[in-house]
């Protein structure tokens, strides 16, 4: 169904119209039309700016500006949730204990070579 495309100058038969084929509700169809209208409006604004022969400046995308701002400034909008707390612990707190683990690892490998020097080390 998704691969079907009508011939360039023909029209799609009514039975193959996605709304009819999938028996979509009228609410869904209305919502879809609204979304299509919004998209077409945005496209029209972009095309007007793009093809304007007197344009000297860049076309600015406000969505992109908001997105870049959001990526650069997370701290004022941070909210502690289960997911963010878990991530914070995994990547922020646990690595702080890595020196202890390395110390343990070094000590265990040392134990079989040098014996008591390692224990003196821990007591210091």
């Amino acid at each position: 169904m998704a691969d079907y495309r009508e011939a360039p100058l023909a029209t799609r038969p009514k039975t193959l119209d996605p709304n009819e084929y999938f028996n979509l509700s009228p609410d869904y169809r209305r919502a879809e039309e609204e979304r299509a209208a919004l998209r077409a409006n945005l496209k029209r604004q972009y095309q007007l700016q793009l093809n304007n022969p007197h344009r000297t400046e860049l076309i600015e995308d406000p969505a992109l500006t908001r997105w870049v701002y959001a990526r650069a400034n997370p701290y004022p909008h941070f909210r502690p949730t289960k997911k963010t707390s878990l991530l914070g612990v995994m990547f922020g707190v646990v690595p702080l204990f890595r020196p202890l683990c390395l110390l343990f690892a070094l000590c265990f490998t040392d134990k079989f070579n040098h014996g008591p020097t390692c224990l003196m080390f821990i007591r210091y």
Partner: protein, 460 residues
């Protein structure tokens, strides 16, 4: 020493007295003259002693490469700022150049200082012109936040250093680099000794930056204009490394155990910041995080204090200074054309600007430590000395090198390959000024392949 310092100081009144027609050409040629004169420091005999001595300033094989880098960077900064300052009134242009020159003076004094207090004062003094450059000439509103983070992180780290140095002065009577290695430094209370050790190192670890205290760096590198970013990435981070090298001499013997957590944190930081780089969308932030990554390696190397590690750290500092500064200049050429730092908005540049693509290529290869560039030499010496210190670090450093290659290629491929942006009318071709700027960055790097002994520090 005064041969270089006095002309730099006198460059300040020159900036204010020259007619605006000749301002940029004169300051540029004058600072290039000072930079070529500073190369004489490299001709000093490469022994472990001090050269160009007087009571207050001296240069030794560790500080000489950094001094030459500082002097070399001033003409590059002036060359880079010329474009975006052209539209401002003359007095503001003069102020900007004066700030750059005063920064150079403070840095020369800092790197050639023979006394720890003088080094500390110059270390703090370099913060002020940089702060003014970031907050006054930055482009986005976030520059105020960036300035605050930059100032207060570094200050909070360095105030304990002041107290530690005053304590040291009290107990030993002198803080001169000449005599300090030979003084008996004992501290009766082990707990106080540990706190004193941390106080000494904290300032430099924050400045380097160490991974846990690195939050100021992405902000402070992204917000300022190109000259601010250049000087921050190329020299100011190395000030932290240089300070650590100097002060670790007096911090034995407890450094052996106390430096463990910082070494691990630095190495973990290499991997973490490398991974953050892979997910960045802001070009300057990517280069800033790559600075943190390389400096993490340098910090770990300096903390293990072996001769090869010091050599590797010094080489990597110089090579990274030149590479990072070149990358920031390239990012600035993008920014001046598209007025946006988002990488996705400036793709396919290889088709549009093939000559600049050559510079991008060389700078990216330098960033990922391609042989035979000095970046690789430094990284290799650091990785081998870390491996000798403990073989488990190889996992961290190897992974770090892999991720470095990954994000460098990611940066190159995103900006150079890919579809050309549709929303730009025209992209100006590169100016000869920009080509000159990048040549002056990358030519020393390529020449250093031929004589790396200049950078070897005390192992020469």
């Amino acid at each position: 020493m005064l041969k270089i310092l006095l002309p730099s100081i006198l460059l300040l009144p020159s900036t204010w007295l020259i007619s605006p027609k000749y301002l940029w050409t004169t300051t540029l040629s004058y600072s290039l003259l000072i930079a070529s004169a500073s190369l004489m420091w490299l001709a000093a005999p490469a022994e472990t002693g001090w050269s160009f001595l007087n009571c207050l300033m001296a240069s030794d094989p560790v500080s000489t490469p950094l001094l030459v880098l500082t002097c070399w960077l001033l003409p590059l900064m002036i060359l880079a700022s010329q474009n975006h300052l052209m539209l401002e009134p003359t007095n503001r242009q003069r102020t900007f150049i004066s700030l750059l020159i005063s920064l150079q003076i403070f840095l020369i004094l800092a790197f050639s200082a023979t006394e720890l207090i003088m080094f500390y004062i110059m270390f703090e003094a370099t913060l002020i012109p940089t702060l003014i450059i970031i907050t006054r000439w930055g482009n986005q509103m976030e520059r105020l936040n960036a300035g605050t983070y930059f100032l207060f992180y570094t200050l909070a780290g360095s105030l304990p250093l002041l107290i530690a140095l005053l304590l040291l002065q009290n107990s030993t009577g002198t803080l001169s680099f000449f005599t300090i290695p030979y003084l008996p430094l004992t501290c009766s209370d082990p707990w106080a000794h540990k706190i004193w050790w941390t106080a000494c190192l904290l300032a430099f670890l924050v400045k380097m930056p160490l991974y846990g205290a690195h939050l100021w760096l992405p902000k402070a590198h992204v917000e300022p204009p190109i000259a601010g970013s250049m000087v921050l990435a190329a020299v100011l981070l190395k000030l932290g490394g240089y300070g650590m090298m100097r002060i670790l001499i007096i911090l034995d013997p407890i450094s052996k155990e106390l430096s463990y957590p910082f070494i691990i944190l630095a190495l973990w930081g290499v991997i973490m910041t490398g991974s953050i780089c892979l997910r960045q969308t802001d070009l300057k932030a990517l280069i800033a995080y790559s600075s943190v990554s390389h400096m993490g390696l340098v910090a770990a190397a300096i903390l293990i204090q072996t001769p090869w590690a010091f050599t590797g750290a010094l080489i990597l500092m110089i090579a990274h200074g030149l590479t990072s500064s070149a990358l920031f200049c390239l990012a600035n050429t993008n920014y001046e054309r598209t007025h946006s730092r988002t990488m996705l908005l400036a793709r396919g540049l290889q088709t549009l600007l093939p000559l600049t693509a050559v510079w991008w290529f060389i700078a990216t290869l330098a960033n990922l430590a391609l042989p035979p560039l000095p970046n690789l030499m430094g990284e290799l010496m650091i990785i081998t000395s870390l491996f000798k210190w403990s073989m488990w670090t190889l996992i961290l450093t190897g992974l770090g090198t892999l991720i470095t290659a990954g994000y460098s290629l990611y940066m190159f491929l995103t900006t150079q390959h890919g579809p050309i942006p549709n929303h730009l009318i025209s992209i100006n071709p590169p100016h000869s000024r920009e080509h000159l700027l990048l040549t002056l960055h990358l030519l020393p790097l390529l020449l250093l392949i031929l004589k790396p002994e200049l950078l070897w520090g005390w192992s020469a």
